[in-house]
Amino acid sequence: MSASKSPGPFIWLCILLVTGILLYFAKSILWLVMPMMIAVVQYYILIPVLKQFVLMGLSFRQAAASVMGLLFLVIVVALILIVPYVSDYSNSWQSSIGRYGDGGISFLDKSLLNLESHFVYLKKIHFHQKISGALINFTAHFAEQHAGEIFMTIAKWLPSLLLVPYLTYFLLIDGSKFKRFLVQAVPNAFFEKTLYLFHRLNEQLRRYFQGMLMLTVLDGITLAIGLSLLGFDHVLLLSVLTAVFAWIPYLGSLLGCLLVVLVAATDFPTQPWMAYGVFVLFIFVRILDEFIYMPLTLGKSLRMHPVVSVVMLLVGGAIGGVSGLFLVMPLLGMVMVVGEVLGQILSDQRLLARHRYAMELRSNAANEGLS
């Protein structure tokens, strides 16, 4: 079997369709899909730690329990450090959000007026008036229209997030049992290919999630250095937020950049070059990502054609909203590997013939002595 045989257009079409359908169904059970996704991410991140514990002489079960204990400890310590910070700033945060919103609108206002002064055509169509009006209208009614909805979503999600450590623990101790259970159901003719499929799927996801974590750390450090050189406050918070946004390919960097531009426009209203500095920094980080960080961390895992990535991101956003944007790439990666190998299995006439022959043998054995 040739593992490297690339799938044809029909298989690719099936892969894209199945990803869309899965996203559509995942949307209605997001309360379960998201904790499972986070648990899978945690599983792949914790696997190297688990291996270290096993190497130190612990049994597999003891190592899994120790890893979860360590994770719990890290979360508790992080909460102890973060909670006082959050409660200290909680009052000022609400006003800060409004302030940064106003700052962003003011920056946009100035930029649009500037554009109008250079391009008469834009002035004729009242470009500045239309855009500013729509934006002010949106921000004015945003809180009253969506605040309740956002609060309810958070309240609905919090209990399901408690599932995450539970799911992670069982993935750590029973992940291989679950794989064996699934492989058991596969007919003999496809057994070895299915093992290969699981192996590739596992490797792809492991490389992707571990790589994404490394990429987030590298992006976070680079952005933190860049933002502190530019003279920003709350550098850690900004760099972590923008690095997490970068999990959404292409679009995430843009969102992160816009967020920091808002901060720049508000905190430094008289220094427009700060906002342009942020643009330059993000372009620099994007170049670093493309040529150094991504080859170092993600390698060839889930690297697909940029057009396919962008189209699937748009599809993911349209079907699943913000969660769809985060889910679509790992989901597409999984479906891609399954699709590729299933395509190879289903187009392998010899394997299909072997399966038919085995079924005939089984049928003959079952019918023996009946007539």
């Binding site: 190497l55 291989s176 058991q184 003999n188 003719a189 070895e192 192996h199 043998l361």
Partner: protein, 152 residues
Amino acid sequence: MFFRTRKKESPHQSLKSFVLFQNLNSKELARLSSLLHYRSYLKGEIVFDEGEEGQGLFLVASGAVSISGKGSFFASHSVSIKRGEFFGEIALLENVPRSAQARATEDTELISLFRADFFNLLETDGKIAAKISLQLARYLSKRLKETIQGKE
């Protein structure tokens, strides 16, 4: 329910009957057991074809398997693998096409050890993997000697 039943031999203890695993203790056998796949084949069913990319080795738990092929060695020989023996061992070590076809000559139970799981074992449980590797090396050296003697 008030009678104490005789303690049964744990399922992984039966693995000790295989030459490849005979040096493993009961704890190591239990660990290894969680990586093995158990498959049933009917008489005449093909386990794998010549030229197919192999993913691991097979151990015969019951029944028998015949190995035959078009290659220089197997064209003239058809080897029968019986209970307690194993085949497809090269695929455990490297990603190469199978050198012959394997077919069950009677209703057969096989146990499979997948290459990726074995490599994983090398990382996490080096001792178990080393014991298996040593037994495999002994087996391969014995086969090499037999081949050389056969040529002489």
